[in-house]
Structures are given as structure tokens and as C-alpha cells.
Subunit: 439 residues, 2 copies
């Protein structure tokens, strides 16, 4: 079991021991275990039952309102009325597959592609980020003729067989996966780009010495599961250059940073002023409606389609398109990218101020409304996962939802819905300060 | 290119040649190609733009109403108001992942599992049948320690990398896939079960002689893509016994036959009076809302979870559960299983009557509202794919939607929404008779 799994387990309920729980909750959990079985994992040592969502808030079955600092899927706000009504209208009108023409599916594709750098002009719609990454890997192999992939050490790219192989945060134990090489997450300081590229170079060399060769590096462009590494802007450029030098493709996984979260445009890779070879997307794309996509150069897609038929039954349906369109509407109408920048800056500055007062805070990193907050031991400044866990549970009692990330699980992963305002930031900062003072 | 690919291409638009098309359609197709690229495949030589769906009907942009004899995803009827309103209500109230408790997700899981044979008491919810099959393969490998799979020659099980490997109908060319063995589809007559099991035995032996071993056979329990083989009931039993004898698992892919279509219960495997080791589902589960599932023995899921973390972001969300619940409501309230049996029988009898008059009809097979209709040459009774294609296009001009299947593409795949009545059956039979008389 990896370090990251250990911490995650600490903040989760996945067993059967409900001793000390309210009887009603214990009964619910027993039923849950009886149906969802071993794959049932719930947040928190004592799980929460939710009954309603609205904007940045979730409401539990006991009438408590939680400030949601964690859920990045309902990215334009829980149950946003514009998205909900777009889905409601379309699902009552037409919901077919893309083998018939339907105006809304095609106009959504055009609209989305207008926000992606020019050479990437084709879109394949899927239902999930996992399906998108699964397809991206195969396109990369078709184009390069190689089958080796490089990812960061605590990366998560999805749940299919092919994508689980490149998602070390899902590994239990240390499986031998011959076609995958893991490299360290970017460093938080020093020559970030140079170090990252040097690690990549080693991994490329290793893969080139195998029968697999080097097909692609795939990076979540803000390194969400690794603990959030956003700075300095542009640090991924040497890695991109090196990748191309070795005939590989650079895949930007925008499933987490995409759709405005980083506050500097629609995509996380924009922060690095580069054009990836393939862009994948998912989670926030439909604000919870299951949709994902692969954006790719036409010649790359043509190459893939020469050897494999690809069709996705639900992908790109009129309802998915309606949801996707509505999400883009809200991002534009409510100026959520600018809000992510502004509110994110207030939040980050506030956290930096707390850092200067509380030595338990080891680092503050991020961009827009995607911030990583490290906790360290008071003695020797090393990663303090139990303390992060303590903070997460304390925040829960103060009705604030949050979770952890990173190889050592000592990093709070802060990524609220993008309608999060400076008022919410103040509430979070005040509460965190209070908890830190009492800890 | 396999035989099945050749026929599919005949009834599809996937190139760029729009000569002779109405200018507006040609413009739309050029735009479509510019966005969806090489992966854009449309039904029919001249595609149709749809604008509305209702019950068994789809309406195109020219105001034509089509009787839908083909689309099995909107299984309880296009845009069914009960399903649409359930989705609309839930998407406005709460849409989160399953790491929080939510009553509707858990009650849906319980309700669905109450319809599956007892030892299969755990459910993992996914977003697609592809994700479900991808997971099922891994569970089978965890349980058996083997990695070889057996499927039928024109099978389709989905679109991820792992599942494409076991979907020969997606192959272009004849790729060498070392861990997969293809066996012929069931025969239409003779000792169906014995022949199928004998072919399976050969394939098992072959896999056992490799490093992969025999993990599982996965069958669509009505063999949709192979051309629909339903009879005699029970013919899969010898294959199941043989599979267990060799330590393998039997996976029933209910993505196409499931949710009442075969008219004899909720599942296609029920027709064979057997209990599979794993059941997968998808397409009709949410009537178009992207959802799928894996139903499995608890001990098998536990085994898988020991080695791999599995979480599906959108899978089992309250909205998916609302859609799934509404689908089960409609199946019950409108007695769609009984209707599938009754209307299916009228349709099948009518087709058999046509067969006795028109030697071009080589075979009628199926159960409930899933019927395969073979066309053959008048001279030597061999598969006649061009004639099937002719019929498909003729039916289109009569505003009836249909498609083909099977290794030779000479089989009409008849699978209308389950609200299809005997009146619709009469309309189809009369139209087909007319076309056959004029052909």
C-alpha cells in the first residue's frame, strides 16, 4: 500500500465497523456494504448523507449546510439552474447517438473547439475522462508506433484497464507495469522545469531501451493528485520540447484543471504557453452530466481510425451537448474564469498569511481555484499526513468539505465550485485559522 | 477489412463526398467532418438530421416521422416523460459522487439487485457498458489469475482498449491479439448448444496452452452483433458447465439484451436458465442517460479490490439512479416485458409468414423485440449483404429506421423501443412486404 493510499484510507469509510455510529447511519452503511460491496468507499471516518446541492453548498440529511471546498465536478455550482434546465429541456426533446446529425451536438463541438489552439481541431466525445484518456493513449500509440507511457508518481488519469496502468495513485502495492515509467512530481522550487525535464529524460531513455519505446507523456497540467504544482508558468515547456525531440506525444489531461479552474483561461496547459498534441477532458465538462472528450489533430485521429473503429453510444448526444453548452454559457455569463482568478488570489494570499503565522503550514501552491496546502510536522518540517487528516475532520465539524492529495497525503486539495466568492474565502480562512490556533 | 465492416460502410456516410446532396446538408456534413474528423460515422449513405423523439418515433428536420425499429438505447421510448422528468428533478436537486451517501443511489442499487439471481449481490456502477465490461474482464482475471478471453467472431463489447481487444466487430484487418480467441456464433439449427460448447472447448484448450490461460468467456446473451441467436432456450448451459470445469468465469453481457428486450424477464441470460458469474449492463439502463453496471459475487469484487482501487466519478450518481429507477418504473408500469413478448411474437410470426412467400428471406431468429432477419441470394441461398442494404435504404424512404448486423452484414437487426405495439408491427410488415414485392 502506497503512502497516498494510507492517508486516503484514514479519511474514508470503507470497512464494516460502524461501532459508535448513530443506529440509522449504521443501518444505512450495512445496506450500502451489502449492495456496493468492497468497492464502496465513502468520504470521512463517519460518512455524510447529502440531500441537496446549490451553488457552493451541499446540505446533509440533518439539515446542515456545508461549504464545498472540494468538489470540482459541479464546477459552475451544484445543480446550477441553467445547466439543469438545459438538460431537462433536451432530455425531453431528443436524446440519440451521433450517427444521426443533430444540430446541438455539432454546434457544441464547434464551440468547444473554438477555445482550443488551432492545430487541435478534431473532437471525439466520450462519457468520462477515463474513456477520453483510454482513447488518447491508443491514438498516441497509433501515431508513434510505440507503447510506453510516462506519468508522475501519484498521478490519477482514470479507471479503465489501460488508464489504471498509468494511474499510480490507484495502485495497491507496487505492481510491475513494464510499459509505464513513473517520474517525480514537479518540485515546488528551484529549477522546476529543468528538473522535471531531466527526470523525464531518464524515463524516456529507460523506455527507449525496452520493446515498448516512448509513445507519450501524459500530465494533469496542474498535477492534482500529486499535490498541485502550478508554478512557475511555463515550466512544462522543456518537457514538451524533449518529448517531441524523442518522437513522443505530449498529452494534457485537463480533466481536473480544465474549464476555467486555474483562472487564466479555459485550460491548465494555457498557463504553460504550450500546445499539447492531445488534450483530454472530463469531470467539469457537463457539471456532473457524464461527458468527456479528446481533442486531437485531424491527422492523428485519421491515423487511429485506420486501424480501429471507435464509436461511443452516449458520447456527444444532444443531452451531453446541451449540458456542455450550458456549462460554457455559465462560465462566460458569470465570468467564472475571472472569478477563479480573483477569489483564488484572495484565498491563496490568505493562506500565505496563515503560513507565515503557523509553521504547521509547509507550503501553499496553485492557480485560480485549485490550491494545494501542505501540512508539516512542527519538529522537522516533514510531510504530516495525520495532521492534514486532523484538519480535514476539524473542517468537517465546521461544515466545510475538503480532501487530501499528494504522494504523502499531507496536502489539502482545495478546489471549490467556481462560483466561490471572496466571502466564502474569508469564511474558510477564518475557520482554518481558528482550527490551527486550537490545534 | 472484415466482411461485417464492408456492409456497414455501405450503409454509412463516413467520407467527404457529398456530391448530389442538398446544399444545406452538404454544408452541415463538411462542418461535421471539420469537427468530428475521421471518427465521424453517420447512418445511411445520405444521413438524417433528427430534431425530436417521442415513443417509437423520431422526427427529422424536414418534418418526417420515422418509425424507429433500430434504437435500443431509448428502450422505454424516446424521451419518455417519466424518465425525462425524473432526470430533470434530480439534476436540479443533487448530483454528487457516491463517496457521499445519497438515499436514491443506494435504493436504486437495492432495487436493481433484487432482479438478479441471489449469488450476484454486489453492484458497481459505471457510466457505460464499455466501462462495465472493462471492469468485468479485470475482475475475471483477479479471480482466476488468468488473462485469456473467449468471444464470438463478430462480437461487440465496447470501446475501451481492453474491451476493443475482445470486440472483433471493431477490428479493421485481422490483428493478432494473443490473449483473445474467437469462436463462431451459435448455429441457427442442429445441436446448437453442443456445437457452441465444442467450439468453446477448442478455444479453451488453445488458451490453456498459452501463458495467458483461460479467464472467461464473455457473451452477449442474444449475440446481437453476431446476427441474433436466441434459440433453443438453454443452449448456453453446456458452455457454462464447460467454463466452470476449466476454472473460468462466464460473463453475460446484457448491454443489448438486458432490461426486458427479450420478452421473458429482465435479462437475456434468463432465457437460458443459468446464473452467470458476472453480469454487465449499459445502453438501455438509463434510457439514454449514460450509465452502466457490473453485477458480481461479493467475494469476486473483494478479490479485485484487494489489488486495485476502483472509483467512478459519475457512476451511480443520484441523477443516474433517478434515471435508472424511472426506467424500471416504466418497464413495470407499462408492462413492457409482456409487451416485448406479445408484439415481438406478432412481428416474428409476420416475418416467418413473409419468409414462406419470399425466398430472399433466409432466416428469422430472435426473442421478444430483438429479431434478426437474414437476406440471401435467390440463386444459391448465400448471405446477401447488398440486398440487406437495399432493404435498409428502401425502408428509410418509407420512414422506417433499421440497421444490419452479423459477420456477413446480411441480417437486419430489429430492436425497436419496447413501447412498440402490434400496430407498429403491422405497419412494418406491410411496408416490408411491399418492398419485397417490388424488389
Amino acid at each position: 500500500m502506497s503512502a497516498s493510499k494510507q492517508i486516503l484510507a484514514l479519511n474514508r469509510f470503507e470497512g464494516t465497523d460502524t461501532s459508535g455510529f448513530p443506529p440509522e447511519l449504521a443501518k444505512r452503511l450495512a445496506k450500502r456494504r451489502a449492495t456496493f460491496g468492497a468497492s464502496s468507499v465513502l468520504f470521512y471516518e463517519q460518512p455524510i448523507e447529502m440531500v441537496r446541492g446549490e451553488g457552493v453548498y451541499l446540505f446533509d440529511s440533518n439539515g446542515n449546510r456545508y461549504l464545498d471546498m472540494y468538489n470540482n465536478v459541479p464546477s459552475v455550482g451544484h445543480c446550477h439552474p441553467h445547466v439543469a434546465s438545459a438538460i431537462a429541456a433536451q432530455v425531453a426533446r431528443l436524446n440519440i447517438n451521433t450517427r444521426y446529425l443533430s444540430r446541438i451536438s455539432e454546434s457544441y463541438a464547434e464551440r468547444l473547439l473554438s477555445h482550443v489552439p488551432a492545430p487541435l481541431s478534431n473532437l471525439v466525445m466520450t462519457c468520462t475522462g477515463s474513456e477520453a484518456n483510454d482513447l488518447a493513449l491508443r491514438i498516441a500509440s497509433s501515431v508513434t508506433g510505440k507503447h510506453g507511457f510516462i506519468v508522475t508518481r501519484a498521478a490519477y488519469h482514470g479507471n479503465t484497464e489501460a488508464v489504471t496502468a498509468i494511474s499510480p495513485s490507484s495502485y495497491k502495492g507496487a505492481p510491475h507495469i513494464p510499459h509505464v515509467r513513473l517520474i517525480p512530481a514537479p518540485s515546488a522550487e528551484g529549477d522546476v522545469g529543468g528538473t522535471f525535464a531531466a527526470n523525464l529524460a531518464t524515463a524516456i531513455k529507460e523506455l527507449e531501451a525496452t520493446e515498448y519505446g516512448f509513445a507519450a507523456i501524459i500530465v494533469d497540467s496542474i498535477f492534482s493528485s500529486d499535490g498541485i504544482f502550478a508554478d512557475p508558468p511555463g515550466f512544462l515547456q522543456p518537457a514538451l520540447a524533449l518529448t517531441h525531440q524523442h518522437g513522443g506525444l505530449f498529452i494534457a489531461d485537463e480533466v481536473q484543471p480544465g474549464f476555467g479552474r486555474t483562472g487564466g483561461g479555459l485550460w491548465g496547459f494555457g498557463r504553460h504557453s504550450l500546445t499539447p498534441d492531445i488534450v483530454t477532458m472530463g469531470k467539469p465538462m457537463g457539471n456532473g452530466y457524464p461527458m468527456g472528450g479528446v481533442v486531437v489533430r485531424p491527422e492523428h485521429l485519421t491515423r487511429f481510425c485506420e486501424t480501429t473503429g471507435y464509436f461511443n453510444t452516449f458520447g456527444g448526444s444532444p443531452v451531453a451537448a446541451a449540458a456542455g453548452n450550458a456549462v460554457l454559457d455559465v462560465i462566460e455569463d458569470e465570468e467564472l474564469i475571472a472569478n477563479a482568478a480573483t477569489s483564488g488570489q484572495v484565498l491563496k494570499s490568505g493562506l500565505e498569511a496563515l503560513k507565515s503565522r503557523f509553521p504547521r503550514i509547509g507550503g501553499v501552491r496553485g492557480a485560480g481555484l485549485f490550491i494545494g496546502l501542505d501540512f508539516v510536522t512542527p519538529d522537522d518540517n516533514t510531510q504530516d499526513q495525520p495532521f492534514a487528516s486532523h484538519i480535514i475532520n476539524q473542517l468537517k465539524t465546521h461544515h466545510i468539505l475538503i480532501g487530501a492529495a499528494g504522494l504523502y497525503g499531507h496536502t489539502l486539495k482545495i478546489r471549490p465550485p467556481l462560483c466561490f466568492t471572496t466571502t466564502h474565502a474569508d469564511q474558510f480562512l477564518t475557520t482554518l485559522e481558528q482550527i490551527l490556533e486550537q490545534s
